[in-house]
Assembly symmetry: C2
Homo-oligomer: 112 residues x 2
DNA sequence: CCAATCGTTCGAGTTTTCTCGCACGATGAT
DNA sequence: ATCATCGTGCGAGAAAACTCGAACGATTGG
């Protein structure tokens, strides 16, 4: 029996409005920032204090909007940014948003 | 008695999450694209078919999030992008989003 | 095999956003 | 002055998003 599988939109199907919406949520924007810094991370590290169902909600939204790639590894769930796909589809977007976040996001850096 | 006045956040107060949220709505994203192409525009041109109160709702949201500058001119209301402020605050963001929109936004070009 | 752990799904409740009709003040033209 | 026009604010209703507890299947370790 295959492990958990996840549906991901193809690179060409990623819609700008959905990406912007995904990034407009502070929790998710913070997740994306962590992913940009740390590469592939265990989903639990994206929100150690969040209820699991809430965490799943946000990671699923990021996945369905084409921002992240999700893969099951044992019981855990590894998340990484779709940097190449996003760069190909919307050149510069991710970098620009992350730069903007770094300079004016939330100055209270509660680093994990 | 002064004409209508509008409150605008200062450039330094513009928050990335709010800007992304403002741009994540298809109607508003389309408005921003028109503004980028046409410069300062009469608000009515941003949504000729929308109810007035709906149009006000979206233009107000764009204004309050720091994306556009609004000024009363007679009975009309002129809108323009805050390109310089946005560029200073979030370098490259607006251009990147508009490029992304142009290449993958909505292919149905209903040009005004 | 059994128990603990993890992510997912479902459902309910809360909050936010969106839409739009209506009344009002301001403006411009007659 | 009068009247039509425009944007705004308000209120209500609908739609969408967020949060989170509980139950379930899958996986790991004893």
């Amino acid at each position: 029996m295959p492990p958990r599988t996840y549906h991901h939109p193809e690179a060409g199907e990623i819609a700008i409005a959905r990406v912007l919406f995904a990034l407009s949520e502070p929790l998710r924007l913070n997740m994306v920032r962590m992913l940009a810094e740390q590469g592939e991370v265990d989903s639990i590290n994206l929100g150690p204090d969040l209820p699991r169902s809430t965490l799943t909600h946000h990671t699923s939204l990021l996945r369905e909007s084409g921002v992240v790639f999700v893969r099951a590894e044992g019981r855990k769930c590894m998340i990484k940014l779709r940097e190449e796909d996003l760069e190909a589809r919307f050149p510069g977007l991710l970098g620009t948003v992350l730069t903007a976040y770094g300079s004016a996001g939330d100055e209270g850096e509660t680093d994990a």
